[in-house]
Symmetry: C2
Subunit: 208 residues, 2 copies
């Protein structure tokens, strides 16, 4: 990052099958980097104890959600177990204009929706597990479930993995520290792209 | 870098006006990263004491050089003080296929020629000095020359700087260690681009 040069923020998407370490990597990235924040979604799901409106989610009614969809106020939205979730575009745009980066922990379908609307701002990373055996081990350790449940999870993971080629970058998560460093390198590099440095032209004029 | 996944090497171009620290940054990058080497040019200039054929330059005759140009064997070539210099394409291609990266310390004209022929393999970085005053100071310290000579150098630097917008990335070299880290982040990120990881498709097939 060129500290004193104004720049437009970017949207960093991390996708991966369950069991590839994405949640841990997202958390550690947010802890390590003060200039990127997790995107806060709007949802129709009821607030749970301890959750904070505007921090965990923007809790809105089903009617309001439907109206926002109709008005094109979401960059992407989806329905999960009867509840609706979506990314309000004005919140993301405010961050980008202010030079802040936004992290998205979403699947390939959400990524495709974001790409349609925000192609130039999007940086997408797909995280892969180190091997088939390790993926199965991680899905098994997550819960003491039946063989059927594990097989269902494997099928879901396979489906997500099949979309790897739609991403800009691919990281194999063999070592968590190494994978985090890789994500940070990508983030830092993308911040140095000429096209994102909105203040560089004025800076160059001051040089010559 | 995903260590065990075969990938195609990339061509990293560093350009900057004289006095922006490019030579030092190139040297330190080569020392720090074992997988990138400086491109070795062919030249018609006579070999100097201590130089090694094939390491410093490929020393060839003017006739040979002209024949290579006619046969399209150069990715880029130029004439400086009556001597000819060029980048032989087969040497670069051999490196890229073997997954090795090649560093180019060239000006905007060389960069344009490379871009025409190798767009997908090229990653270009422009390095800027931190201020007009600092640029002038560095150009003045380089030699105890006349005011006219310094002004000529400034004009040349301004001309080079005017091409900053033709590069993928722009780094302001305020601090040498920071600028080196920025170049390394860009190099590491570009190595993780899906499109360069020629072995990733086979790896994914082994996962599912």
């Amino acid at each position: 990052m060129n500290e004193d040069i104004p720049r437009r923020g970017l949207m960093l998407v991390l996708s991966s099958p369950s069991g590839a370490g994405k949640t841990t990597l997202s958390r550690r990235l947010l802890e390590a980097d003060g200039n990127i924040r997790l995107s806060v979604s709007a949802t129709t799901r009821p607030m749970r104890p301890g959750e904070v409106h505007g921090k965990d989610y923007h809790f809105i009614s089903a009617e309001e959600f439907a109206a926002w969809v109709a008005e094109g106020k979401f960059l992407e939205h989806a329905q999960v177990f009867g509840n609706r979730y979506g990314t309000p575009s004005h919140l993301v745009n405010d961050a980008l204009v202010a030079g802040r980066d936004v992290l998205f922990d979403i699947d390939w379908q959400g990524t495709q929706q974001l790409k349609e609307k925000m192609r130039d701002d999007l940086v997408s990373i797909f995280i892969l597990p180190p091997s088939h055996a390790e993926l199965e081990r991680r899905l098994r350790t997550r819960a003491l479930d039946s063989e059927e449940t594990v097989q269902k999870r494997m099928a879901k993971a396979s489906d997500e993995i099949s979309h790897w080629a739609e991403y800009d970058y691919v990281i194999v998560n063999t070592d968590l520290d190494k994978a985090l460093a890789d994500i940070q390198a990508i983030l830092n590099a993308e911040r140095l792209k000429r096209s994102r440095q909105t203040g560089i032209s004025a800076f160059v004029n001051s040089l010559v």
